[in-house]
Structure formats: C-alpha cells, structure tokens
Amino acid sequence: MNEPASLSTIEDSAFVELRIPPKAEWAAVARLTVAAVASRLDFSLDEIDDIKLAVAEACTHAIGRSNGDHPVELIFEAQPDSIIVTVRDFSTSPHLESVADELDENHVGGLGLFIIQSLMDDVDFHVDAGTGGELTMAKRVGGTF
C-alpha cells in the first residue's frame, strides 16, 4: 500500500466487520482490510504499517487457537482520531486462559502479543468460557509510539 494516507473523513464512529476462515492463508486478507480502514483516518503510513502488523499478530494467534469450526471475526471501529480493533475467535480451548494470564500480568510471553503491546496504545484480552477469546486494541492518530 504505497499510497498517501488520505485526510480524515470520519465524523462519527463507523464499523467495518470482517470474518475470515481460521486458516493461515486468510490472515493476509485481514491485514489488507485493516490497512484500507486505517487509511480512511489521518494515520501516517508508518502507523498504518503498525496497525497492520498488530492485527496480523492477533489473527495469527486466533487462527492458532482455533479448532477450525468458527471463523475469526474482526471488528474495526473507526473514530475521528483512533481505530479500535476487536479480534474474536470462538474457540474455548484452555490455551486461551494462559494468553489472558500473560497479558494480565504484563508478562511478555508470545512474541506476537509483545509486538501488539508495543505497537498499539491500548490492548485488552478477555476470555469468556462460552464464547471464546476477544482481543481488543486501540491506536490513536499521532499517538505515543
């Protein structure tokens, strides 16, 4: 995506949703879609690359945890000055708990989660025994990194 990021055109919150099969070959689709969404905001090209990578890491994790039955769901909330991305797997495998622990205790375990935490402004992981894991991350335009 070597295009100049366009000026922000979002007035209120806008939601874009994407579902991909829980397989490695579809992670690239999530990456390109979030880049397209982020380029509607005032993010720099470097910031868009950061968001792309963070979302790819979240998908990789979700795909890895999946039992293959449910799609990986991504919700992109575009606000005037930030993007909030939620990645949901619907997998209820016990592995999920340990990921939550890693994030809760600020223990840098998986390299992927560490990258997400480094690139995004806010990261939150939440597990529900019934519905699976939900990773939410936010990045502000011209933010901290």
């Binding site: 490695a24 990789t60 480094s118």
Partner: protein
C-alpha cells in the same frame, strides 16, 4: 501476498537465503523449510537477505530465531541484510537487533560471518 525463496552458495561454506515478498503465518513454513534444509545439509553460516521483504511478523521472526538457535549449536551464525525501516523497527522493538547481526548490504553481512 506470497514469498519467493532463493538459496545460493556464496564464498567459503556460507549460503545466502534471499527472500522476497511477505513472511507471515502462511508463508513462513516455506522459509523454515529452506533454512532447515540448509542446516540439515551441514551449512551453519547463513546470510538471510531481507532486502526484498515487504512484511514480516512474529511467525517469520520465529523462523529466523529458530534457525539462529540451530546454527549456533554448531558454532555457526546467521546474519541478516535489512534496509526497510519498518522491518528494522520490528527487530528493534523485539530486541532481536541484539541477537542477529543486521547489515545494510550483502557483502557486509557476508564479511561479518567470518
């Protein structure tokens, strides 16, 4: 959205693995296979050229780390060639700059192997 892997013999017993494209959860097994094959053949001094890599994530880093660990067991090393600032940044934030030799061009990376 794919990876090209090109392996070639260089000076001494060193090998160059030249990668082009995107290294992600889908394509990194191909990279791993190429590196594993070289190591299985007894080549422990590798230059991995990332100049034409537009994208790498933790699965790609994991493959590079895995390769480095294996060659080190045999006293070898892995040097990287990387000029793309976004990709350099990923090695920075993960602290991997301290573990890999990272160079701006292939001759420097090759020279530093020996």
């Amino acid at each position: 959205m794919d990876i090209k892997v090109n392996v070639r013999k260089s000076a001494g017993d060193a090998y160059v693995v030249e990668l082009a494209g995107e290294i992600d959860v889908y394509t990194s097994p191909k990279v791993k296979d190429a590196i594993t094959e070289l190591i299985d053949q007894g080549h422990y001094n590798l230059v991995i050229n990332l100049e034409k890599v537009r994208y790498i994530d933790s699965t790609g880093l994991g493959v590079l780390i895995g390769g480095l660990k294996r060659v080190r067991e045999h006293g070898g090393s892995v040097n990287l060639v990387c000029t793309n600032p976004q990709i350099k940044k990923i090695f920075d934030i993960t602290g991997l700059v301290k573990i890999f030799g990272i160079f701006d061009d292939e001759p420097s990376a090759m020279k530093a192997l020996v």
